[in-house]
């Protein structure tokens, strides 16, 4: 039963880990966009 729980937990850790990287990349990109839109730039 431990192996079963480990497999299910590993699946969700991998997916949640990947989703976290996506969220962080979104946040970084949004920051870049906000910086580009800042008045007085360009």
């Amino acid at each position: 039963m431990n192996f079963l729980y480990a497999a299910y937990a590993a699946t969700w850790i991998i997916h949640i880990g990947y989703l976290t990287t996506l969220v962080r990349r979104y946040a970084r990109l949004k920051k870049e966009v906000d910086e580009m839109r800042r008045p007085g730039r360009g």
């Binding site: 079963l4 497999a7 299910y8 699946t11 990947y18 990349r25 870049e32 580009m36």
Partner: protein, 285 residues
């Protein structure tokens, strides 16, 4: 489209929850392996989803390569039509390996043609490249799940974590091919990177049929297929497996959607930054 995303996210969450409940509670306990067999309800749908994503990556890469060349584009279109027609006719005319249903071969052929034309219609040249990156990345995530859950099942059942059997090794090679694809895209700054990556993706897909059919062709330690390969499966187990596959497909679709939007946004920002650089005093020389 923005309104569909939360609705689909709720549906996916419900499906995943029900899939987990069905795998743990509704599916009957397998007699020889016991509860550890329930890993199958995550392992197999993840593998199927990874294969589908790698196939989408292949189609998107082909389209990225042929789109600028009208002759190659027309040729690829006709090859896609030919595959659909050949599968439909060939499945009922030529003898198939034991356990392979003609209907499933014909459906696969039609699906290949349909996927090709759907991507062709709805994605621009840049869109196909972004789709290729997206599907490769999400495919690698699902393939990682397969490579992690497999040994967790093998340890109590076979007594070993890993063996260099054809199915296992070819899956590891598949994962390595797509990891190298992503590394190429991440670290190469050449203007030719998308073309090189698309060419690598075309060769990368050649490993998918090897992985899938290895248990038919070679003597392997991996269990024989329970669907479409002459094996049998309890109807309740099959239903639970298909529910989980549907749930993982919906989940993969949502993740791909987010990743695709991120990729397109990134390209827009890079383009804007390049324009800004050109417009700056001393930017153009």
């Amino acid at each position: 489209m923005k309104r569909i995303f939360p609705i689909l996210a709720i549906v996916t969450a419900a499906l995943l929850s029900y899939g987990l409940y069905a795998a743990m509670v509704i599916a009957p306990r397998e007699l020889t392996m016991g509860d550890v067999q329930r890993i199958f309800y995550y392992h197999v749908p993840s593998a199927w989803t990874a294969f589908l994503l790698f196939f989408l990556n292949f189609v998107a890469s082909i389209q990225y390569l042929v789109r600028p060349k009208p002759f190659a584009d027309r040729l690829a279109k006709w090859v896609a039509v030919f595959i659909g027609v050949a599968c439909c006719i060939g499945a009922f005319v030529f003898p198939l390996p034991e356990g392979v249903e003609p209907g499933s071969v014909a459906t696969t052929g039609i699906a290949i043609t349909a996927i090709y034309f759907v991507i062709r219609k709805f994605f621009s040249e840049q869109g196909t490249d972004a789709l290729a990156v997206t599907t490769a990345e999400v495919g690698v995530v699902f393939c990682t799940v397969v490579l992690v859950t497999g040994p967790l099942w093998a340890r109590p059942v076979w007594g070993i974590w890993w063996t260099w059997d054809v199915r296992l090794t070819s899956t590891l090679v598949l994962w390595l091919i797509y990891v190298s694809y992503l590394m190429l895209r991440r670290f190469s700054s050449s203007g030719q990177t998308p073309v090189l990556a698309a060419a690598l993706a075309v060769f990368g897909l050649l490993d998918v049929p090897l992985v899938y059919f290895s248990i038919w062709i070679f003597r392997t330690q991996h269990p024989q297929p329970v669907i479409g390969g002459g094996g049998s499966i309890d109807p309740i187990m099959l239903r639970v497996l298909l529910i989980n596959w549907l749930a993982f497909l919906c989940f993969a679709f949502l993740v791909c959607w987010s990743r695709y939007r991120l990729e397109m946004m990134k390209r827009e920002v890079e383009e804007a930054q390049a324009m800004e650089g050109l417009l700056e005093p001393g930017g153009v020389r």
